[in-house]
Amino acid sequence: MTLRPRRGTTPVPPLLCRWDLDKTYLRSEFDTLRQLWRAARERGADKVEVPGVIEVLKGLRAAADRHGRPITMLFVSASPPQIGEAIRDKLRLDGVPYDGIVFKDQLQLLRRGKFANLREHAGFKLGELFRGRAASGVATREVLFGDDWEADPVTYSVYADVVAGALSVDALEPLLLRIGVDREVVPELCALAAQVAGWGGVDRICINLERRTPPAAFALFGPRLAPSFNYFQTALVLAADGWLDPDDVVAVAAGLVERAGYTPRRLENSLADLVRRRFLSISLAHRLSQPARRAGLLPALPRQAWLARLRAMLARRGAGAPRAPLPGPLDYDAILARHRSPARGGDQEAGAR
């Protein structure tokens, strides 16, 4: 089963997917120095992925091929390049179809005495995002994947607003400084931003709620950013956007059931949660979940399910409208007030870690 391609038929715009690595693709544990040391010494076979992520990555590629859509999948990681071999091994073992991977050169920062920059990743990621987009072209559509441990929500949103033309390059400079980006790299970032400003095309920011951060913490980021508790939810959002087909959602659900111990009830609850958070309409949720129900991965609907759906729709009248996009750039004053900058340390809320 395939959904109708969302945008016109010719030419199909290319899709660029950029993925964070730790806590988004890998279930990395480095809350302590010991864990950090262990993570650095792990081989590819020792590394564990977040359940369902492999199927999402494969599904994106498969759906793109099905619809004749060029796709590029890149990993952008703030981890040092020294772990690159293990990561590539892991990606190869998982059969993940990726096109490239960029690491942050921590050793160079150490050599230059830039100790404060070791933990500041927003500047590094923004630079890579701008460069990657400039190389990709104006017509490209983008989906970004991150998690709630680092600064991904803020970094990705700033990038998306610049690319959308909602955040001017002039306004970018003071914002970068407030985020905690190294003053020395700000001019370079602004120059990179100027190349792609107004190109548009960042359709979705998917945030994996690895820390179970309350979804309300992301309300300020608008509906473009979809926080998901598992990759089944991410797959449903991507299918709703047209980047995956319902059969790809089935593959993600099957992966979670077979390899992560998920049950049909847990998947059903995840689906319902996404509907309640208004990332899916009831009718779309019903349509996307049909193949998974037929495959026995979701519970079969009771005979009078249509009646329950109708009742639920009536109950949600008014409150159930899809989340409306926020006009203009996001309110970064409010975001930074709530999610304190990593450069300032302290106890931060999700989104700026």
Partner: protein, 338 residues
């Protein structure tokens, strides 16, 4: 895994504290919860706290029973209340047990309409757990008191059934192989209390399936002579509220005394850990809830003032009871009595 239906709109602090309690459970355990109530209000609370959506389903109910509403009036006018919808979910097999901190009278009455009484049982009993002295290490520091308000006055037959049901519940939940059962009375002599209690005493004494320790007096409630204490709802409710009231007054008196004299303040400071322990012992939030016994399905009733911690503990108690097959144990015990 058991599914526990939770009345999200019942209680003084509903739905906020109820939903928070369920959110806690979703992160700490593998218990599945079915939150029943106004979907929009439930979701608004959920999104503000950490939770695991894989463990939580929401069932919309457009109405709720106010805490002070007459139970019969509530049953007549609020058929779509969260309490009724949750009970129907359990009765229909969508959930295995229900937890509610709502209107107690309505809870008992609604349960009697949605659930079936076990064969032979004529009235349900509302139980509560209360702290008592322990006599040996590892003994459950809580005893079960029933009935505390489901009925006002009972006949002998009903009190005998209460004893059997309470004993079966304690056997599973407290892991006491032979719970000691006492009859709350005016004195320990078997002739005390009037014809009904004398008759109950005689019949319990003759029951081989019950370890009956005879009559117990009010001061025995906290002494630990019995693991299960049986009484009429009127008496049980007074005893329960008295225990709670004494605990609260103790803390209030201590605070008031501390404000009056420096010497008292110093003395209370020295005693503070002891007072905290007494206060913790009588803190109902630690124990979650207690069952309404007598139905074919399990109903855990929480205190109306329950906050998130109490609700979370009540859900855990309900799940444990389902896993330990408590309703079946009680049905077997009642069947044996007949």
């Amino acid at each position: 895994m058991p599914v526990i239906a939770v009345d999200a709109m019942g209680g003084d602090h509903a739905p906020e504290e109820i939903v928070r309690g369920v959110a806690e459970v979703s992160l700490e355990t593998d218990i599945d919860c079915l939150l029943v109530g106004h979907e929009g209000r439930i979701q608004a609370v959920l999104e503000e706290v950490p939770y695991n959506p894989e463990r939580i389903a929401v069932l919309h109910a457009r109405d709720a029973v106010p805490m002070d509403e007459d139970a019969h009036e509530a049953m007549r006018t609020r058929k779509d209340s969260s309490l009724m919808v949750a009970l129907q979910a359990v009765a229909g097999g969508r959930a295995d047990a229900i937890v509610s901190a709502g209107n107690t009278g309505a809870a008992v009455l609604a349960a009697s309409r949605c659930f079936s009484l076990l064969p032979g049982v004529r009235r349900a009993a509302l139980a509560c757990v209360h702290p008592r002295l322990t006599e040996y290490p590892g003994q459950d520091p809580l005893a079960l008191l029933l009935d505390v308000g489901a009925t006002v006055h009972c006949e002998a037959d009903e009190l005998v059934y209460f004893a059997v049901m309470g004993s079966a519940y304690a056997r599973r939940i407290s892991k006491v192989p032979n719970p000691r059962v006492g009859l709350l009375n005016l004195g320990v002599e078997e002739t005390k209390g009037g014809p009904t209690l004398v008759e109950v005493h005689r019949r319990l004494r003759a029951q081989p399936m019950i370890d009956f320790v005879g009559n117990v007096e009010g001061n025995d409630l906290v002494r630990g002579r019995a693991d299960v204490i049986v009484c009429e709802g009127y008496v049980g409710n007074v005893a329960l509220k008295l225990l709670e009231g004494v605990s609260e007054v103790l803390v209030d008196v201590a605070q008031a005394a501390a404000e009056r004299k420096l010497v008292w303040r110093v003395g209370l400071r020295l005693l503070s850990r002891g007072i905290e322990r007494v206060s913790a012992l009588t803190d109902f939030s630690r124990y979650g809830g207690a069952p309404i016994l007598g139905f074919d399905k399990l109903f855990i009733k929480c205190h109306g003032r329950s906050r998130a911690r109490a609700v979370a503990n009540a859900v855990k108690v309900a799940a444990k009871a389902v896993r330990d097959r408590v309703p079946e144990e009680i049905a077997d015990a009642v069947g044996g009595l007949r």
